[in-house]
């Protein structure tokens, strides 16, 4: 008798395996042959019809922890399995079944695209529509004590985030004469504060040229800003501008928005990147990404407050102009009031708000101003 050999086929292969038909939990001992005419593996069991697996359709289960046993399946049959326990049987399969390691085709690509888009859409809807809407409405309903508590908790977070080691909060500058000068500036600008509107002013020891407002009338100046302002009036203008934000409830809105958004982003990114989301949120608070309308309104508030206190609103224009000259175009600069493209308009507005024939009273004595600028010590 002659055998026609195909490929590396050995002489009439006789193997053994355990066949699981996937319908019941009864393993069947099977004799294995290669049916060259059908180009298939014949699985022969007592008292059962033989099963033929086309050689090119046989797949081996991937990622098995032990190699002493190999489990085979048929590409299109999700249930039936053939277990091979000897090295020889596995070797035959490796040689004869040419597509043993082919991966199944990817199913459900469309659904993936649809759900992927929906997930992004839902998160975007939350962050850009629903959370801002809720935050804007809830901000007005917060009582004064609640706003102050919110502001204080945010302030603590900001201090920790700004510190380079990220562990201790950034120190406050508390030179007594400097604080007295700040107090004087505050009383001059806002002489009749109701208890509801009471302000708290802090100076942070940080080189950033920045000032920001937090919920509950907490105004924060950075040391960098004190170094860049040349007259007390310039600082007073920034002060009044920040109070403008507080009165318009801008910081409360942003704080509520970020707490909502941080939770959603953390959910999407998982533990690993969740920390980054929180950091991003804190960053947004200091950057105080207000709309142009909010900035213009705060400016207008500042102009009026300055005029009421016999101070020239133009101080805001001089400060902005100098910062623009020093840092060039606003783009790419971290400082918040430089990041708005309408800086030219804001300078113009400050100038226009200053009547030509008005007379102004000085704000601080030279010694007081020096004390204020040196509030952080040497």
């Amino acid at each position: 008798m002659t055998t026609i050999r195909i490929g590396a086929a050995p002489e009439a292969y006789e193997g053994k395996g355990l066949y699981l038909d996937g319908a019941s939990a009864e393993p069947r001992k099977a004799e294995l042959r290669i049916d060259e005419a059908r180009r298939a593996l014949a699985i022969l069991m007592p008292r059962k019809d033989p099963v033929y697996w086309p050689l090119t359709e046989i797949r081996k289960l991937p990622d098995q922890s032990e190699q002493d046993m190999a489990v085979m399946r048929l590409a299109k049959d999700p249930l039936a399995r053939l277990i091979l326990t000897t090295a020889q049987d596995q070797e035959i399969m490796r040689v004869r079944a040419s597509e043993l390691h082919r991966r199944p085709p990817v199913e459900g690509k469309r659904r993936l695209v649809v759900w992927g888009a929906s997930a992004l859409g839902a998160v975007a809807l939350m962050i850009f529509v629903l959370i801002p809407f809720l935050a804007d409405n809830l901000a007005g309903l917060l009582p004064a004590s609640g706003k102050r508590a919110l502001g204080e908790s945010v302030f603590e977070d900001v201090r920790v985030a700004l510190d380079r080691t990220g562990v201790d909060p950034l120190p406050l500058c508390e030179g007594p004469e400097g604080l007295a000068a700040l107090e004087k500036m505050g009383t001059r600008l806002f002489p009749n504060q109701s208890e509801e509107e009471a302000l708290v002013v802090h100076v942070l020891d940080h080189e950033m040229v920045n000032a920001f407002a937090l919920p509950g009338g907490i105004i924060v100046f950075m040391r960098g800003l004190l170094e860049k302002t040349e007259t007390p009036e310039e600082l007073a203008a920034v002060y009044a501008h920040e109070v403008g934000h507080v009165r318009a409830l801008d910081p409360s809105r942003i704080a509520l928005r970020t707490t909502g958004s941080a939770g959603v982003l953390g959910l999407l990114l998982g533990d690993f990147a969740g920390g980054a989301a929180v950091l991003f949120a804190t960053n947004r608070l200091i950057q105080a990404d207000y709309t142009q309308e909010a900035e213009a309104a705060a400016d207008a508030f500042a102009h009026q407050a300055m005029l009421d206190a016999d101070l020239a609103p133009e101080a805001l224009a001089t400060l902005f102009k100098r910062l623009r000259e020093e840092y060039g175009e606003p783009e790419g600069v971290v400082q918040y009031f430089l990041s708005h493209p309408s800086l030219g308009d804001r300078i113009e507005a400050a100038r226009a708000a200053t009547p030509a024939d008005a007379t102004f009273r000085p704000l601080l004595e030279a010694a007081e101003w020096d004390a204020l600028r040196g509030i952080c010590g040497e």
Binding site: S24, A25, E26, P62, A119, A135, T259, F272
Partner: protein, 396 residues
């Protein structure tokens, strides 16, 4: 795999987890037949996306409203955080049950599917109730909780068409709990005895200055017995409890006989932890040696090096490099530690424990299995996505 996970901002974790599960499942061979995991990464990713869509609304709005209420009513954030966590707890148990259902629906043995009946809300309800009692009783209720939840899950579990059944009774886990009780009791006793000195002790710990602290109470020694006993008790409770639960479980006429050895499991957890902490410590030491060497070549004196904190040293070493490069070095180092930790945990802790359980497992009454038939496929569309989104801790 870990590397790919990091590089793809975590998306590869669905692929990594699928491969890991195939590997772990195949190592379990009850009666000589390996388990097979048939879940796909894509369905996991999809399920995660579905969960994100639903949870985004829940978490976003709830977070915001709770923060608002907490600040407007109590002027403090604490209550909001607490409420947010409390609000997520039932969801967490719900997600755990659903994840279990998905896992069983994608597990095969001898060609047949496993399955878990729906019942996630009932599970969440019972879990909340029992955990409440456990907290109230300082943990003494925990064996009751463990039994009740296992029973709830197991009695809803199917192998093919055959329903499983959890035998035993509500109090049967207490013998396994005895060492936790002794260890816990001793710890409480030690805390009570040394209570007047605990304040100064933690103050010294905080300031890292123990010079002024002196332990005068002889009861401090009690901690040397109490803490190891408690740790041993927890491991014992884990192993012995699992053994009791599995050995009273049955699939029709087929039963289980598992005999994990506590000594072996303790050894695995001690050696495994030594291996992973040791490796990370070694890596940190190599890094600090490099840092010190670098600082010295940068012209810093020995004195400056020993005085300087790591940040100053790092700054000194990388001063000539562009900023992005020094950031990249830190990021790579951080990922390296993360990666090594993961790999070592699998190789020295999870897999050996898993294998030990598998090796000591035998089946009784196996002829009955041949009469069990296949069950229909459970789509389980969200594929454990809620658990993934909520970080419900699954080892694999």
């Amino acid at each position: 795999m870990g590397l790919l996970t990091i590089l793809t901002v975590g998306i590869y974790r669905f692929w990594a987890r699928t491969r890991l599960r195939r590997w772990y499942w195949s190592a379990l061979r009850p009666g000589g037949f390996p388990l097979e995991y048939t879940g796909t990464p894509l369905e996991k990713f999809l399920g995660f996306l579905v969960a994100v869509v639903i949870l985004a609304f829940y978490i976003g709005v709830i977070n915001l409203v709770l923060i608002f209420l907490s600040f407007s009513l109590l002027s403090a954030p604490g209550a909001a955080y607490l409420l947010t966590i409390l609000g997520v707890i039932p969801l967490w148990f719900f997600a755990a049950y659903r994840a279990q259902r998905y896992l069983l629906a994608r597990t095969r043995w001898m060609g047949l599917r496993f399955g878990l009946e729906p019942g996630a809300w009932g599970y969440a309800l019972r879990a909340c109730f029992h955990w409440f009692l456990t907290l109230l009783t300082l943990g003494i209720w925990h064996p009751r909780l463990r039994y009740a939840l296992a029973r709830y899950r197991h009695n809803r579990t199917f192998f093919g068409t055959q329903r499983m059944e959890q035998g035993g009774n509500r109090t049967m886990l207490y013998p396994a709990f005895v060492h936790v009780m002794i260890g816990g009791f001793l710890t409480l006793g030690a805390i009570y005895e040394t209570a007047p000195e605990l304040g100064p002790f933690f103050a010294a710990l905080e300031s890292e200055d123990f010079s002024s602290f002196e332990a005068s109470s002889p009861s401090w020694r009690l901690f040397y017995i109490a803490i190891p006993w408690l740790i041993f008790g927890l491991v014992y409770y884990g192993v012995e409890g699992r053994k009791l639960l599995i050995n009273t479980l049955s699939v029709g006429e087929t039963g289980f006989d598992i005999r994990p050895r506590i000594g072996k499991v303790l050894w695995i957890s001690i050696s495994g932890n030594l291996a992973r902490y040791g490796a990370v410590t070694a890596l940190a030491m190599v890094a600090s040696l490099l840092l010190i060497g670098g600082a010295l070549t940068q012209g810093l004196t020995m004195e400056e090096v020993s005085e300087g904190d790591p940040e100053t040293l790092f700054r000194a070493v990388t001063q000539d490099l562009p900023g992005w490069l020094s950031t990249a070095v830190v990021v790579v180092f951080y990922f390296l530690i993360f990666l090594m930790w993961n790999v070592l945990t699998h190789v020295f802790l999870t897999m050996p424990t898993w294998r030990h359980y598998a090796e000591t497992l035998n089946l009784t009454g196996t002829p009955h299995l041949a009469t069990i038939d296949q069950r229909a496929r459970d789509e389980s569309r969200e594929a454990g996505g809620f658990a993934e989104a909520l970080d419900v801790g699954a080892a694999i």
